[in-house]
């Protein structure tokens, strides 16, 4: 069962997410829909459990396709979960209708990546920042509205207020627009702020200023924050705790200091090694995971990071497509004639894209299954350290095909490590 670190005694839990799943159905082709064929679904968030304590900043860090943005939207009640719950102070957002969500929106606010898109181009800054007050009917008259808007603008550093209040978004720089968005987010006095890549679109010389402003707001207004980003450097600076996400799941979660000083999951380690540093003494690390984040429609079996993981071993979920990837990798290094000869052995490479622990590879007409077995053996001898072979039970020839039997893959659960949790078989006592 997934576990999570218990909230510190005395600190109230603001958000409690339990086994949250958000699946998006694919529409498929027109004909497919007509015939009622299932086009499959993307498991954007696939069983996430976490909690946020009052006053805490939790980072959701991952690459594109990790599900961090969908998770963030689910925290705001903007997407309906397929299963699981998102509880804000005991109220499950998943079951609420729009009208019931509205009062909660005063307590939960959001900031998105592109401030230009978040502001109505036809609304001046004063109207935009005051808009939530009017929608929620929280001001008696114009004077009170103006005073509160000006307070918020001062708070985010848009001073002198007179200079900015009557401006339209297009007249402001990116940093100033993001300040206006922050002013609008804090004007209702929220408790929780969900910020999705709030500084990614800003120039590097401004990022630090906006982050500093967010730190100030968090301290002065006693905010709890969820900070969604792909940028490990700002997460390290801004967050108390970090959850690393990969293909819809949390693969590692823990205090920021521990995650950055002693990353446990191979994916976290790879991400940290890949961040370019303006440090003239650092040399390039060559050990990068191969490939890219796979398609969420049909994620790899077992641990979904296993095809890219340098430490993967027997139970990580090896399957047919990994053999194909290995062959294609090999062929980028062969000269054309050798490649042509090897490729000609196979009846259809697409047959290798199967799930499950048994792979049957048919030889092309006039080629033998034995020659495929011999090729695989040659590949194995050429690079015995390739992780894939740790998951191969045996390679044999049967019924005119080359058969590869894999160790049955096991999906790793989030299990406890020192300060936090990690979903990786390397830390599972059962495999030690």
């Amino acid at each position: 069962m997934p576990t999570r670190p218990e909230p510190a005694a005395g600190a109230a839990t603001v958000l409690d997410v339990a086994d949250l799943r958000v699946h998006f159905e694919l529409r498929g082709s027109f004909l497919g829909r007509l015939l009622g064929r299932d086009a499959g679904s993307v498991q954007a968030v696939d069983g996430v459990t976490l909690s946020l304590r009052h006053g805490e900043v939790l980072g959701l860090v991952g690459e594109s396709g990790s599900g961090k943005t969908t998770l963030g939207r689910a925290l705001l009640g903007l997407v309906r979960p397929t299963a699981g719950s998102v509880c804000y102070r005991g109220t499950d957002l998943a079951g609420l209708r729009q009208a019931q969500l509205r009062p909660l929106r005063q307590r939960i606010q959001m900031v998105f990546q592109d401030p230009g898109a978040a502001l109505n181009p036809a609304m001046d800054i004063e109207t935009a920042v005051g808009h939530p007050l009017r929608i929620h009917g929280l001001v008696r008259d114009r004077d009170e509205l103006r005073d509160r808007v000006h307070d918020a603008l001062r708070r985010v550093g848009l001073v002198p207020v007179e200079r900015f209040a009557s401006k339209y978004p297009a007249e402001l720089s990116g940093g100033q627009q993001q300040r206006a968005v922050l002013a609008r987010a804090i004007i209702l006095g929220p408790e929780l702020l969900v910020a999705d890549e709030p500084v990614s679109m800003l120039d590097m010389s401004v990022r630090a200023k906006i982050l500093e402003l967010m730190l100030d707001l968090r301290r002065d207004l006693d905010l709890s924050c969820v900070y969604i980003t792909h940028d490990l450097a700002t997460a390290k600076f801004f967050c108390d705790r970090v959850a690393i996400m990969y293909l819809g799941r949390i693969v590692e979660i823990g205090p920021t200091e521990r995650i950055f000083a002693d990353p446990a999951h191979p994916y976290t380690r790879a991400l940290l090694a890949a961040v370019p540093e303006p440090d003239p003494t650092r040399t390039l690390t060559r050990q990068l995971p191969r490939g890219e984040v796979p398609d969420g429609v049909d994620p790899p079996g077992g641990c979904s990071f296993h095809p890219r993981c340098p430490h993967a071993f027997a139970p990580c979920g090896w399957e047919g497509r990994d053999v194909r990837a290995l062959l294609e990798q090999r062929w980028t290094a062969l000269d054309e004639a050798d490649y042509a000869a090897e490729q000609a052995l196979f009846a259809d490479l697409a047959e290798l894209d199967v799930r499950g622990s048994r792979l049957r590879i048919r030889p092309a007409a006039s080629r033998s299954a034995e020659s495929i077995r011999a090729l695989l053996e040659q590949v194995r001898v050429g690079d015995p350290d390739e992780p894939l072979w740790r998951g191969v039970r045996q390679v044999s020839v049967a019924d005119g095909a080359c058969v590869v039997d894999f160790v049955e893959g096991v999906d790793p659960n989030l299990g406890p490590v020192d300060e936090g949790a990690v979903a990786c078989h390397l830390y599972d006592p059962a495999y030690r």
Partner: protein, 342 residues
């Protein structure tokens, strides 16, 4: 800066006409590119990096004017006819853009992109040669030959960028300009592409101009760096040396304001890059410079060379006799509002 330079830029100026007057996006830049080297160009948005990159290839947007010279192996690109210039682009001058998806034709297979490119520039090439050259370049970029006949949408973002780089390299150009080639990619894929670009130096003789806002990428993939501010190159030199000991205050502040894994405190440069219609007089950085002196507000800085191969345009580095009496007194800066920012 020896004479082996494949591309030499002297006093390059590019300006756009606007209603408010000309925008001087590149304003007197001198550069040289040596075969096989990677030169990184960094600076904030709006400092003229992309305009410089396009100017080097003789590519100017509609309504833009250019002055100065860009000499490719001795020939000034601005004096060539449109046709002669187009014949250089591809075989000699290549470009890689930020977003690969918009640069690949969605209806063409990868193979067709290569066929079109190679047939255009080498009319006598045989189908067999096209295949051979394309596959060889793709392999170097890590694209398996099994994917040669696939369509662009069948590849991931990182693979598409690898294909773009292969298309840029297949003609073996002498100069390649890459404008933010990794900005739309994920962290790990970005790192893979940076390593690929860093390896270019060893495998090809191509001189690479890498435009980026990410100082980390420059430190990891470039031999030399050129720091741009408001249309000027304010500092050039060996990338590692410049980052270890930046001479220009702008370079130093840019490095300090970069948030990296080793960041322990937040720093930023007050204010924003100037409007290039009406840039500040003398040193353009002086209104934002923490080290500004009297002379910085009154006279254009002189480019000096504190060490071989390193050039900086800043009065802090002299020449002392030109700073003049009292010129080195601190400049009282105008207050910059917190919200005056990029």
């Amino acid at each position: 800066m020896t004479d082996e330079a494949v591309l030499r830029v002297r006093d390059l100026r590019v300006w756009y006409g606007t209603e408010r007057g000309p925008v001087r996006a590149v304003d007197g830049v001198d550069l040289a590119l040596v075969p096989g080297e990677t030169l990184g160009v960094v600076g904030e948005s709006g400092c003229g990096k992309s305009t410089l990159g396009r100017g080097l290839l003789g590519l100017l947007p509609e309504g833009a004017k250019a002055g100065g010279e860009v000499r490719f192996r001795g020939t000034d690109l601005f004096e060539l006819s449109g046709r002669a210039l187009r014949e250089l682009r591809g075989p000699e001058l290549g470009m890689i853009f930020q977003d690969p998806l918009t640069r690949l034709n969605p209806l063409w297979r990868v193979s067709e992109h290569f066929e079109e490119l190679l047939r255009t520039h080498c009319p006598d090439i045989s189908a067999e040669q096209i295949r051979h050259r394309s596959l060889a370049t793709l392999r170097r970029m890590g694209i398996p030959p099994t994917r040669y006949r696939n369509y662009p949408h069948e590849f991931s973002g990182g693979m598409r960028q690898r294909i773009m780089i292969a298309l840029g390299l297949v003609l073996n150009p002498a100069v390649l300009v890459a404008d933010e080639p990794t900005t739309s990619l994920d962290v790990l894929v970005e790192a893979q592409i940076i390593r690929l670009l860093a390896d270019l130096r060893r495998n090809f003789d191509t001189a690479l101009l890498l435009i980026t806002h990410n100082l980390g990428i420059v430190a990891e993939a470039c031999d030399r760096v050129a720091v741009m501010y408001a249309g000027h190159v304010v500092e050039t030199g060996d990338a590692r040396e410049v980052f270890a000991a930046p001479a220009h205050p702008y370079t130093r502040e840019l490095l300090r304001s970069t948030i990296s894994l080793s960041t322990t405190g937040l720093h930023y440069i007050p204010g924003a890059p100037p409007d290039l219609v009406d840039p500040p007089p003398a040193c353009r950085f002086h209104p934002r410079c923490p080290d500004a002196m009297q002379v910085c507000a009154t006279r254009d800085p002189v480019t000096v060379s504190p060490r071989p191969g390193h050039r900086v345009a800043c009065w802090l580095h002299g020449p002392a006799e030109q700073v003049g009496a009292g010129g080195d007194a601190p400049l009282v800066r105008e207050e910059i509002d917190v919200a005056d920012e990029a």
